[in-house]
């Protein structure tokens, strides 16, 4: 019983991080149709910028956070405007390869700029110590990180569902021509979606980085968030949250019962099975092919 709780509570903060990453990726995929495999690099950039800021000027958190979010948002927008918007009309996998390669290049560039072996992020007013929950000792910080992540994700979905902006985003993604006829500035929405996606990734990076150390390996988390995205359905925002939390908890169970080295292989096996058995995911739109 204790192990089960340990797995769940260990997996939830991770799952909340995956949710935030997957939300951004779904947003980008739904609006511009690009599956962004360089998403983890936005996350890493956000975490690096804030951590570097805190290293130089200890104590000033808010300004550093703002800088981190801006950096990730700007990078994301630049990638779209300069590179990925130009792959429209080329075969579908061109954008896939482009984001993969961009990810590798950004990783190398960031490891040159941020050259310490590892960084730390400290969020002020983050409670220390451990809390006893149903007989399991959990660190306060990981609980808070999980809660913030889930709250932000839900808030984000509510905005997309009930605000004017949300309608514009969904409309521009579904049918760009019709949306532009209806007075929506489709191109602006596209760039906006990339900015928001980048900012969400940076938030995920800061949250996750505050619970561990920040180093280059963090950018691999976006690849692990891909199973979460597929589980929820590639184009469903609610699915991204459910999938993210589910994959996080599953990874918690793998860590507790099998050991850390099995996490990746089991997660990717799940992805493979999902792609074969349930390609549209839990909440995704089924792809119907008309000839």
């Amino acid at each position: 019983m204790n192990n089960v709780l340990l797995a769940i509570f260990g997996g939830l903060p991770l799952g909340a991080t995956y949710s935030l990453i997957a939300l951004g990726m779904v947003l980008i995929y739904r609006t511009t149709g690009t599956f962004n495999l360089a998403h983890g690099q936005f996350m890493l950039l956000g975490a690096f910028v804030l951590a570097n800021w805190q290293l130089r000027r200890p104590g000033s958190f808010v300004l550093g956070l703002a800088l981190a979010l801006i950096a990730a948002g700007v990078l994301s927008a630049l990638l779209y405007v300069l590179i990925l918007s130009r792959t429209v009309g080329q075969p579908h996998w061109v954008a896939f390869v482009a984001t993969l390669v961009l990810g590798v290049g950004l990783d190398a560039a960031m490891s040159l700029i941020f050259d310490q072996p590892s960084y730390n992020i400290s969020i002020p007013a983050m409670p220390d110590g451990v809390v006893d929950l149903f007989g399991v000792k959990i660190g306060w910080s990981s609980l808070v990180v999980g809660a913030i992540g889930i709250l932000l994700s839900v808030l984000f979905i509510l905005i997309l569902r009930f605000s004017r902006l949300g309608v514009q985003v969904r409309a521009a993604g579904q049918d760009p021509v019709l949306a532009s006829q209806g007075g929506i500035q489709v191109r602006r929405v596209y760039v906006g979606a990339w900015v928001i996606g980048g900012v969400l990734a940076a938030i995920a990076g800061v949250l996750y980085g505050s619970s561990t150390i920040v180093d280059g390996s963090m950018s691999g988390m976006a690849l692990v968030a891909v199973p979460a995205m597929v589980l929820g359905g590639l184009d469903s925002f609610e699915g991204a949250i459910v999938g993210g939390l589910a994959i996080g908890v599953v990874q918690g169970f793998i860590t507790v019962y099998l050991g850390g080295e099995y996490v990746n292989v089991v997660t990717y096996s799940i992805l493979l099975v999902l792609l074969l058995a349930l390609p549209q995911g839990l909440f995704g739109t089924q792809e119907v092919l008309k000839v």
Binding site: V101, L112, L223, L271, L272, P279
Partner: protein, 351 residues
């Protein structure tokens, strides 16, 4: 049986069925060029440069396979490092059972081909993005398996397995390797050109461009996809085994997702659906790390070069790929073709 006499059409302009040596002329041309280059390199260069040339020849095998898989058949795969790993580790496994070199290489290829068939099972249902994601997950599963094999074999550890030198320890080792690998590459060129020309090639390109129409034309789409995955995986597996023997050492850490991406990048930079594109891509990506190393050493100093040269190499590689994706989607081959066409147009305009 009545013999029906089909009247041959009178000499048409540009007969529709060209003889095989015309259909495969770019492959033939490439093979002859490589032969000449090999002769030049083995006679004029010294050992380390021939070794580099050998890695280029090995990379050519994979690039040709990738070209067949992605350029001709339109199946995107990020799993090539997984196939390389499967081939290399099967070679290690066979070598530990004291099987001869040829059995190790063929075994590596066959093991990768079986794996390729398993990957092809999703490929029947998956297209585009899902196939790309599926091959990424296959990559991680394969690398995990070989890593476990490496870690659980006593006395191996992090360094990896050693493979015996093929040609003993004579001075001429690299020369002999160069000629052996040239033979393998020529075989690969022949295979890819044969499959890319004629009936099979037309079927594959139709599957790439219009899969639904292909199935209405009585083309066995599933069979072709399985076949292509098996063949290209065999090539990758054989390459992995050969690389293991050339370098003499196999470790699971060599097979990263980055390696898989390099093969994707090679065919995109070189040019899709072209044997020349594959060879050019392989040449560029073999030379790039060394060129960058020298460039960094010249600009930032030797210390930076030894410390961060590899990272600058990766950045250069990413920039190169992105530049081609944005600026010249057809790759180098289409750039050359375009240039030749312009020159010709200018010449005929002058007349």
């Amino acid at each position: 049986m009545t013999t029906s006499v089909v009247e041959k059409p009178a000499a048409t302009t540009g007969s529709p069925v060209r003889p095989w040596y015309l259909r495969m002329r770019s492959g033939l041309f490439l093979a002859v060029t490589l032969l000449a280059v090999t002769a030049f390199v083995t006679t004029t260069q010294f050992d380390y440069n021939i070794f580099l040339y050998n890695t280029f020849l090995l990379t050519c095998i994979g690039a040709l396979a990738m070209n067949l898989l992605m350029g001709t058949s339109g199946l995107v795969s990020a799993g090539s490092a997984g196939f390389l790993a499967a081939g290399a580790f099967t070679a290690v496994w066979f070598d530990r059972m004291d099987l001869p070199f040829v059995a190790c290489v063929l075994g590596g290829g066959l093991m990768a081909a079986v794996l390729g068939l398993i990957v092809a099972l999703p490929a029947i249902r998956l297209r585009g993005l899902a196939l790309g994601l599926g091959t990424i997950s296959v990559h991680f599963v394969v690398v995990f398996v070989v890593d476990q094999y490496q870690q659980r074999t006593p006395g191996v550890g992090v360094i990896g397995f050693n493979l015996p030198p093929l040609f003993g320890t004579t001075v001429q080792v690299q020369h002999e390797w160069a000629w052996l690998l040239l033979g393998v590459v020529v075989l690969a060129i022949a295979l890819v050109s044969l499959l890319g020309a004629g009936r099979t090639g037309r079927a594959l390109r139709l599957i790439r461009d219009q899969e639904q129409i292909a199935s209405t034309q009585a083309i066995p789409v599933t069979g072709y996809k399985m076949m292509i995955f098996a063949i290209t995986s065999f090539m990758f597996g054989a390459q992995g085994a050969l690389t293991g023997f050339l370098v003499g050492q196999v470790s699971s850490e060599q097979f990263t997702l980055m390696l898989a991406m390099q093969y994707l990048a090679m065919v995109m930079v070189g040019g899709l659906d072209s044997v020349w594109g594959a060879a050019l891509g392989a040449a560029i990506f073999t030379a790039l790390p060394f060129a960058m190393q020298h460039l960094v050493a010249a600009v930032l100093g030797a210390q930076q070069a030894s410390l961060n040269g590899a990272k600058y190499g990766v950045i250069a590689y990413a920039v190169l790929v992105i530049a081609f994706i944005v600026g010249a989607p057809g790759g180098l081959v289409s750039l050359v073709r375009e240039g030749a066409r312009r020159v010709q147009a200018r010449r005929s305009a002058k007349r």
